[in-house]
Symmetry: C2
Subunit: 350 residues, 2 copies
DNA sequence: GCCCGGCTCTGCATCGATGCATCGTTGAAC
DNA sequence: GTTCAACGATGCATCGATGCAGAGCCGGGC
């Protein structure tokens, strides 16, 4: 048995296709009698409107794509949740796609057929995509694109981010204020797609500069990715440092920090007494870790809110108001990994 | 400027619409000359096929919906990743939707218009949906639906799960084998939508029965949800138990266990010396926790694999072969929280 | 009694692409 | 030289719904 169409309902109710459409959509005035007949027919046949057809006619799908590198990275899944929730309030469905950081996959989603017709717009957290890729897009003819994160500052697109340099400086200064002198930085990525990491490294340097302290380049550790395993590995290497281990570590995200802490604890190093650790992102796992994790907390709800609002605005008006840069707030949350001992369990620290 | 259509390309290339379609899709043989002309026109105009129109004609969208309760729960995001990856290999795009456990939202996705026309099928991990809701669906006329998890065993749909009763029994027996005598169970949900939890409670009971031990009902703790906060709270309550704290805890998922461990450590209770803890799900956070978490590890890759394969099969053939039940393997992974001290950092335990 | 305005309701065209039948041309086979 | 198959290319109908213009009918006003 096939799905009933508007036409089937019309035949059964003895009215025109158009009238059924009107009833279903609550459009024009319809006499009570016909309305009742149509509604009965709809119920009997179990009619459901075909959204694909509707989309074809209207040119809009009511779907937004959210493209993130990895779904099982808490920062992204928490952010995704916020975006989905916010977009739903505006009547949009969000399709989440993960790229695994593959350039081809990101490119396909931004340039490809899907975006052109399946989604009304895309919110992208680029990882591998280069400036060149984005420049190749023709903004005047493409669907709206909102970028999340720091990259591609001078691009032709709206973008939402926090001030990574400043936030990294705040995190580093916190460690300096604790009297730590040999502060390692874990997570630098001195290559094309590591722009966010590079900004954090800059903040790390600025903090030292502001305090008139010299940066020990050998304490800046590169990691291929931002996972727990990378943090654990980097920390193991730091413990072997020729001048001895550092007395503090600024990790460029919470996963790196949690991996690093794991390594420290298994080696009998005390956190924060021997080595203090700061993370970045404020994921839930950090709040419940022992020791709980001091971290930079970007306001994910605000990021999601700004990104979705921006997208809605783009979708609404025809006026091309030029690319907009939006900054979301963040805060340093001090927990046990830098000295605060045993707060209320799971305390948010806010 | 508007998006070019097949027709625009045809005009520019001086051929028929149909020929352009053939070139774009690589269908029928086309002379090299016309092919070149068409390809040039496509490139010049920047033509992209309209997927909505294509979908309308073909009746398929190439999209599957994966519906989970909460995206930022690691178990689901890890599972989602596996499903997305697997489905992509079959040429399907997966749309992930979270329901926040709201019955209405789940119902809408299963019964509503979107499924009827926007997705070729749905893989659902039901939380709030009742048997009655599912029974109301007409399986013969709806799109394929594959259920994940334990619920609704006798439904009319394919379903993929692990043997929760047996797995819970294995986890509990592991604690009994360690010589623990007062084993708490954290996460029971004795209400309609808590079927998975109830199965785990059954396994917990069976383990005691098999060992000829009596269950202390006051050690079975109910939690509203399965988050870290719930585990922390439940553990705090258990520490106040009139007969004193238990000497082991079986938590119904890893988040509960991590929350519980956090509470224990902040109260100066040693894990596993004073209280051993077992979790369920094997999320990455448990591997890097200190102490690392002993847990039941359902094979998520297999679950995703089975679910997607089943879906593909349903989409392929017309034959209604009746609902299929598929069981995915699991294993107990012993780590520090039940006694294994300092394995290789991040060791998977496999 | 006639005309006009408003309210219902309808048919046709359209969104952009594909399935199918067909038509003209060419080359090979007899 | 004729027949026929294969090939290349095309037009029309169609997928399911909505926009638009207008038809039919009713009642009210003069």
């Amino acid at each position: 048995m096939t799905t009933p169409r508007l036409r089937d309902v019309a035949e059964r109710a003895g009215v025109s296709i158009r009238t059924v459409s009107n009833v279903v959509n609550g459009y024009a005035p319809v006499s009570d009698e016909k309305r009742a007949r149509v509604e009965a027919a709809v119920a009997e046949l179990g009619y459901r409107p075909n959204l694909t057809a509707r989309n074809l006619k209207s040119g809009r799908t009511g779907m937004l794509a959210l493209v993130v590198p990895e779904l099982d990275v808490p920062y992204f899944s928490e952010l995704a949740r916020a975006v989905v929730t916010k977009a739903r309030q505006h009547g949009y469905t969000v399709v989440i796609d993960q790229t695994d950081g593959e350039p081809d996959r990101e490119r396909e989603l931004i340039m490809g057929d899907s975006l052109a017709t399946m989604f009304d717009g895309v919110i992208l957290s680029p990882l591998a995509l280069s400036q060149a890729d984005l420049a190749q897009r023709d903004p005047t003819r493409s669907r709206p694109l909102v970028l999340l994160g720091e990259r591609i500052a001078e691009s032709a697109y709206d973008h939402v981010a926090i001030d990574n340099v400043e936030a990294a400086r705040v995190a580093t200064e916190h460690l300096l204020d604790l009297g730590r002198t040999r502060i390692a930085a874990v997570g630098d990525q001195p290559w094309e797609t590591g722009e966010t990491a590079q900004l954090r490294t800059r903040g790390y340097r600025e903090a030292h500069q502001a305090r008139k302290r010299k940066v020990d380049e050998s304490l800046i550790v590169t990691t291929r990715r931002f996972h727990r395993a990378n943090g654990a590995e980097a920390m193991a290497a730091l413990l072997q440092h020729p001048k001895g281990p550092p007395d503090a570590v600024f990790c460029y995200n919470d996963l790196l920090a949690l991996g690093a802490i794991r390594t420290l604890l298994t080696h009998g190093v005390r956190v924060p007494e021997d080595i203090a650790v700061v993370g970045f992102d404020d994921i839930e796992a950090g709040r419940y870790n022992t020791p709980s994790l001091t971290t930079i907390s970007p306001n994910k709800a605000t990021i999601a809110w700004l990104a979705v609002d921006r997208m809605i605005a783009r979708l609404g008006k025809r006026s091309d108001s030029g690319p907009v840069e939006l900054w979301a707030p963040y805060e340093l949350i001090v927990r046990e990994s830098t000295g605060l001992i045993h707060p209320a369990v799971g305390g948010s620290g806010t």
